[in-house]
Symmetry: C2
Subunit: 136 residues, 2 copies
């Protein structure tokens, strides 16, 4: 299940990508336009800024803006920042690998085998999509 955090983050990023210039957009404007709790959105934009996807400007006329061009922001990056691991189990994760404490042998584990395929196919989708592809 996709978390609201990711859902809202994607919507906010898409909204920023759809702006004409790269002038700062206020949180309140994004929240209103996308039907998102403003306070919740604040924390999401904050993490996006800390990860280097967004820049912010304080004071009058301030707000958030994209640092890079939408076409240079792959969905793999966005999803990992917002949702975390792309894999459904840690033992097939590229960036968040962890061994299962049960399961003595990964190579012969049926769950491992299946989830590896799911991870690969999902990854391909995210690799083939940039933020630019999400803008209507």
């Amino acid at each position: 299940m996709l978390s609201k955090k990711t859902k809202y983050g994607l919507k906010a990023l898409t909204f920023l990508a759809a702006q004409k210039g790269r002038t700062p957009v206020q949180i309140s404007e994004i929240a209103k336009h996308e039907n998102i709790s403003q306070k919740f959105l604040e924390s999401i934009l904050l993490t996006l800024r800390k990860t280097g996807l967004l820049g912010s400007k304080k004071g009058k006329g301030g707000g958030y803006y994209l640092i890079k061009e939408p076409k240079d922001i792959p969905m793999t990056t966005v999803m990992r920042v917002l949702e975390g691991p792309i894999a459904m189990v840690p033992c097939v994760s590229l960036n968040f690998y962890e061994k299962c404490e049960d399961c003595p042998d990964e190579a012969s584990c049926s769950v491992h085998k299946l989830m590896l395929q799911v991870r690969d196919s999902t990854l391909e989708v995210f690799r083939n999509n940039t933020l630019a592809d999400l803008v209507p």
Copy 2:
């Protein structure tokens, strides 16, 4: 994230599929072999039986067994029973569709557009795998 319930369920089904005959296997044997809490496994096998994937036999020499051949059990069925919706958001789910209460227009929703692709690629994996494919 894959739930333990699904993980254990898949392992149990694979274990049953790997049996030579279709004679009942005790819960305790499955639990021991796959490192699963027996009581937790009980409830999982129960739902699998209620869904028609497994049969059970009581009394001495009883246990659980597969009703159909492993090659006739597609992963789509198993995953929907154990994990629920395959889609990451209800608005792109085939079997569990629900409209988003935010989001005025699905067609122009960036999240919808992306998650539709993910659902399709994941679905393809599950459609191409039966229980027989998971047996080592």
